[in-house]
Amino acid sequence: MRDYWLSKLFFDLQQPTLAAEFRANPESVMSRYKLDHRVKRAIAEHDAPFLAERTNAYLLRYYFFAVGMKDDEFVRRLNG
């Protein structure tokens, strides 16, 4: 399954300026995307398994890289 707007957010966060804005104020950036409240909560909680079911694996990794999470922690959460 692909959540279009979640994927679009992760795709757009490849832009460094938007990623910086997201890190400073995620709610403001997320408000521009049609995200379900459960998806917003999963983003806030770094719920990698929930997000992984809804987007491409590369985009998921880009997202956690953009927010500064180390790969080891990302994989730990994915397997959580």
């Binding site: 692909r2 279009y4 994927s7 679009k8 795709f11 490849q14 460094p16 992984a52 491409n56 694996a57 590369y58 985009l59 998921l60 990794r61 880009y62 790969d71 990302f74 994989v75 994915l78 397997n79």
Partner: protein
């Protein structure tokens, strides 16, 4: 007429740049030597145009439009957009519009339906190999993006057929160009999955061994094995394009090493072209 003077394959991966300083020295040397050897062979073949076959890592395309294959027909393409590729020395790279469009037209005549683009961003998939090859003079680059990161993907058989099609297009192009193909990506690795970091060394060795055998057997082996060897392993499609261009013969391994610091089973190969 143009001629195919070489076919090559090399792994790529962001950590080859981002984590390079943390790669053990002996692995740095082997990877560096392998990339440079491919660069030496490209230089020795006096390549005018390099057709780089790579996945698009969400640099050009999004879910709005995911082409199975997209051929760059622009006079110029852009260098890598990734911020961590800023040190790559080329922000723009000359393409070859005439050859690119001839490939598109030949494909359409032969029952293939590629998309095409007059300007593409060549992300790390293309640019890491080009960078690490340390080419004194960069050939013109015709990028071909073959989807191997979002399902459904082109079949393995079709990728092999694309190689033969590319050769037909090259050899029917009127300008006397020396053209080579570079397939980038693979071998086994896993990106953004629970298995991220896993390298299937045995599978990679068997893949390499089968490049020396029957193309049908190779394709059947990959079709069965790829789904459980990490999503990055799907990029071996680009090696199949090079293999198809070489007529399924002449494979030569330059080096292979599992490199945990860059989380890729790193393979480097070339084909003898007859």
């Amino acid at each position: 007429m143009a001629s195919l003077v070489g076919a090559f394959a090399a792994s790529h991966g962001p950590l080859i740049v981002r984590e390079w300083d943390n790669v053990p020295p002996e692995q740095q040397k082997r990877m560096g030597d392998a990339f440079r050897e491919l660069g030496r062979r490209i230089a020795a073949a006096r390549v005018d145009v390099l057709i780089a076959v790579s996945p698009d890592h969400w640099s050009n395309f999004f879910l709005d439009n995911v082409p199975s294959i997209c051929i760059g027909v622009g006079e110029v393409n852009d260098g890598p957009p990734e911020p961590w590729m800023k040190a790559f020395p080329h922000r723009e790279m000359p393409g070859h519009a005439g050859l690119g469009m001839h490939i598109v037209e030949t494909a359409l005549e032969q029952g293939f339906e590629p998309s095409f683009s007059h300007r593409l961003k060549m992300d790390h998939g293309v640019c890491i190999p080009l960078w690490r090859m340390e080419l004194a003079k960069l050939p013109r680059v015709v990028p071909i993006f073959l989807n191997s990161i979002e399902t459904p993907m082109p079949t393995l058989k079709r990728c092999y057929q694309w190689g033969a099609l590319l050769r037909k297009a090259i050899e029917s192009y009127k300008e006397p160009l020396r053209v080579a193909i570079l397939g980038t990506g693979g071998l086994s690795h896993s990106i953004g999955e629970k298995t991220m970091g896993a390298i299937h060394e045995d599978f990679d060795h068997e893949t390499i061994r089968r490049f020396g055998g029957s193309p049908d057997d190779l394709i059947a082996f990959l079709g069965e094995g790829l789904p459980t060897r990490g999503n990055g392993s799907e990029e071996v499609r680009n090696w199949l394009v090079a293999h198809g261009a070489a007529g399924g013969r002449g494979f030569e391994l330059v080096d292979y090493l599992p490199a945990p610091k860059v989380i890729v089973g790193c393979g480097f190969a070339s084909w003898r072209i007859n």
